[in-house]
């Protein structure tokens, strides 16, 4: 075991307080005495450790504090984005899960599905086809921003000049459902669904949704059953059917 005075000697050597003669003699001993040399090296390392520990204490504290905050922020944010950040291919799956849950809930509680669960309108874009008429623009904007009352009026204005625009008629009917003017809405939708146009079955689907909103479930079900398997709205129709 090292004697106490050896440590005093180590200290004096490290603080360069030894005379030239003492220094050389000490270095000479280090070469010859293994135990001394080992103890000195350990002493030196611990001296360095302590020096580092105390001179960087404040900086280390600041670093640790900052690190802690960043880490907390990162993990809290991660939890949030976990919910929000859906990948596109997950939308379909998520939608069906929601729907499934919805359906299960309806079955469990004996409740009927509601219109708003199924009424997801595609954004209208009348002007995409090169029609830069201001009236069309306004109508489109009103519909896409859910201002259905305004949209219905603008669609009517368009139809005065162009009574054969089936698409505009369809959207006028959707707007009417939204503002609960079912009689007018149903009349238009029935007309479209009895004609042969691209909107035939979409109109039937919306007619069913109108009945749903009016809580006429039997009518709704009958209409849904008339939607054939090769149409865009078939899957939605089937989902609503199983929820009824």
């Amino acid at each position: 075991m090292m004697k106490e005075e050896e440590f005093t000697f180590f200290e004096a050597y490290l603080s360069e307080e030894l005379s030239e003669e003492e220094r050389l003699s000490f270095e000479n001993r280090l070469k010859k005495e293994d135990e001394l040399s080992e103890a000195f090296n350990n002493y030196k390392e611990l001296y360095g450790f302590l020096e580092h520990k105390f001179t960087t204490e404040k900086a280390t504290e600041a670093f640790t504090k900052n690190l802690n905050e960043i880490s907390e922020g990162y993990f809290a944010n991660k939890k949030k984005t976990k919910v929000i950040k859906f990948r596109p291919w997950q939308y379909a799956a998520a939608a069906s899960v929601v729907l499934f849950l919805g359906i299960t809930m309806f079955n469990n509680f004996g409740m009927n599905p509601v219109y708003s669960d199924f009424a997801v309108h595609e954004a209208l874009s009348l002007t995409e086809r090169g029609n830069l008429n201001q009236l069309y623009l306004n109508a489109e904007q009103a519909f896409n921003s859910n201002d259905y009352k305004q949209a219905e009026q603008l669609f009517s204005e368009i139809l005065v000049a162009n009574p054969n625009l089936v698409e505009v008629e369809l959207y006028k009917a959707i707007s009417l459902i939204e503002i609960n003017q079912f009689t007018s809405a149903d009349k238009i939708l029935l007309d479209i669904s009895n004609q042969n146009s691209a909107y035939k079955f979409t109109a039937k689907w919306y007619l069913a949704l109108s009945k749903l909103k009016q809580k006429k479930y039997d009518d709704c079900e009958l209409l849904l059953k008339e939607i054939p398997g090769d149409t865009d709205v078939y899957e939605l129709a089937q989902e609503l059917l199983s929820a009824l």
Binding site: F7, A12, N42, Y43, L50, F63, L67, Y74
Partner: protein, 193 residues
């Protein structure tokens, strides 16, 4: 090591050293997910990953501060190896089950493993030193703190109301005591080269 080229990821080391929030955040964004994933799949959870990441970053910070640390490999590899190793240490402590130590860390065959190995060794020594320091009596702890914080021993002596000679002697004896504690520790015998 000095002849090897410093990797451009040294910027992360410098960022840590400067306590640069932007860089620290970037480290989290870029490198934390892999660690979280790994720990979650190896008997841990996100909370454990959070602790390990912080511990590893503090270790890197200390090592960089002290040894003029030079990163010679991608930060990702170095950081991930450290997190893995620290996590194994936690598992070893908390469970009686035999934990397989990853072979990557044991075979020193590339820069990342070598650097990670050095850092772990550094960390083990620092932890032991700190543990032994805490075992010293209050008088020694206070004197060492004062004499390493206030550079002039005369000032320390004035502050403590003792003579310069006493402070100088006491300082060397306290560091000596710490040296003995460390040398006598079984952990030290295991980790010393």
């Amino acid at each position: 090591m000095n002849d090897k080229k410093t990797h451009c990821d040294q910027l992360y080391i410098v960022g840590l050293l400067n306590n640069d929030s932007i860089i620290v955040k970037e480290i989290y964004e870029k490198f934390a997910p892999k660690v979280i994933h790994y720990i979650s799949r190896n008997s841990g959870n996100e909370h454990d990953a959070n602790d390990i990441i912080q511990e590893v970053l503090i270790t890197i910070y200390h090592q960089a501060q002290k040894n003029n640390f030079k990163l010679t490999c991608p930060f990702d590899a170095y950081f991930f190896l450290l997190c893995k190793r620290m996590w194994f240490n936690v598992l070893k402590k908390t469970s009686k089950k035999e934990v397989t130590i990853n072979e990557e860390i044991l075979s020193i065959n590339d820069d990342a493993s070598l650097l990670a190995f050095e850092t772990i060794e550094f960390d083990e020594r620092q932890q032991l030193f700190e543990e032994m320091f805490q075992k010293l009596g209050k008088a020694c702890k206070d004197l060492l703190k004062a004499s390493f914080t206030i550079k002039s021993l005369q000032e320390v002596a004035d502050k403590l109301g003792v003579s310069y000679g006493y402070v100088r002697k006491k300082k060397s004896l306290c560091v000596g005591k710490l040296t003995k504690l460390v040398q006598g520790s079984p952990v030290f015998k295991k980790i010393k080269n």
